[in-house]
Symmetry: C2
Subunit: 162 residues, 2 copies
DNA sequence: GGAATATATTTCAAGCTTAAAATTTTAGGT
DNA sequence: ACCTAAAATTTTAAGCTTGAAATATATTCC
């Protein structure tokens, strides 16, 4: 039943958003479940470890929260648990006694490497249908949502990631 | 030919997922912020009210949690606050003293109608660039993520290298 | 130096979320 | 009736998340 009223562009956009949310949530829920069941871990922990893994010299609390776009207080708790688990440690910052530098321990690095490999496999599995062309099409459309262009722009491709 | 490594389909899928998550999270965060700042409400409350608004006769707790795909205990708390606010009320289910039927109050219906109108406007604004063709393309691609058509493994193309 | 301001971080209160355990009530089987 | 299993819901414990208030330290400006 195609009961779509003619001029409901607005409703169509609303439906699109709901589908986008549903898709993202479904994948996210599956990742959380697997991290939990197979590794006793969580997505927030994974995200923090991921950020730390890219900076072997460590990151300040505020750098972590900026990178992950979450609040400072949030990071405090996650790092706290990471430290308890022996996956991270806090170092003093010479010259600034307010700040901390957080760094993965050897155990943390090792654990993250395993997690990351599995994680990539899971995503690869969940998006298994997508070939290069579809990936680019979807990526470009999402980019358009994220960064609306003011005027029509004939872009070839080549937006870069961060 | 950008410097994309040859066999990184797997990495490309990973990047795609990251972008999907980023896009969805950005919109969601904006919605939460506006619900909070302009209406003193939250997305979970909005979701529950939305479900209730579609069933004027009310819904059982378990029906709400099934519809929204969240846990029972979760719904308990949200409905609790909705009732405190005078937006919902609980009715007995004749013949089953275990169950509750939750229903929007008149005030709740009115409040939701306003919220819903604003909400649609926000989405329409955030997805303002998208016309019917783009909506359909994006919708179809998301559908493919959500419900992969499992065809036989036919392609021998890309076993990925790592 | 000392006051005001800015920065880095934690603490707090409130709400969301889940899985698992507990409660209450209903339904079945004997 | 009695016993057991199933169903609807709440409670609990733990963790995530935020914005705002609180701490502690650093910097800037007279």
């Amino acid at each position: 039943m195609k009961s779509t009223p003619p001029s409901s562009l607005s409703k169509d956009r609303l439906r699109l958003w709901l589908k986008l949310l549903k898709t993202s949530s479904a994948i996210e829920a599956e990742l959380r479940r697997r991290l939990r069941d197979q590794f006793g871990s969580t997505l927030p922990r994974f995200d923090v470890m991921s950020a730390l893994a890219r900076s072997p010299e460590g990151l300040k609390m505020s750098e972590i929260s900026t990178l992950l776009k979450v609040s400072n207080g949030n990071v405090t708790g996650i790092v706290e648990r990471l430290v308890e688990d022996g996956h991270a440690l806090r170092l003093a910052v010479p010259g600034d006694r307010r700040a901390n530098r957080v760094k993965l321990t050897a155990a943390g690095s090792k654990a993250f490497a395993e997690l990351a490999a599995e994680h990539e496999g899971w995503i690869n599995e969940m998006l298994g249908e997508f070939g290069p062309e579809q990936i680019e099409t979807l990526s470009d459309l999402l980019e358009a949502v994220l960064h609306p262009a003011e005027k029509d722009e004939k872009s070839g491709s080549a937006a870069n990631a961060e």
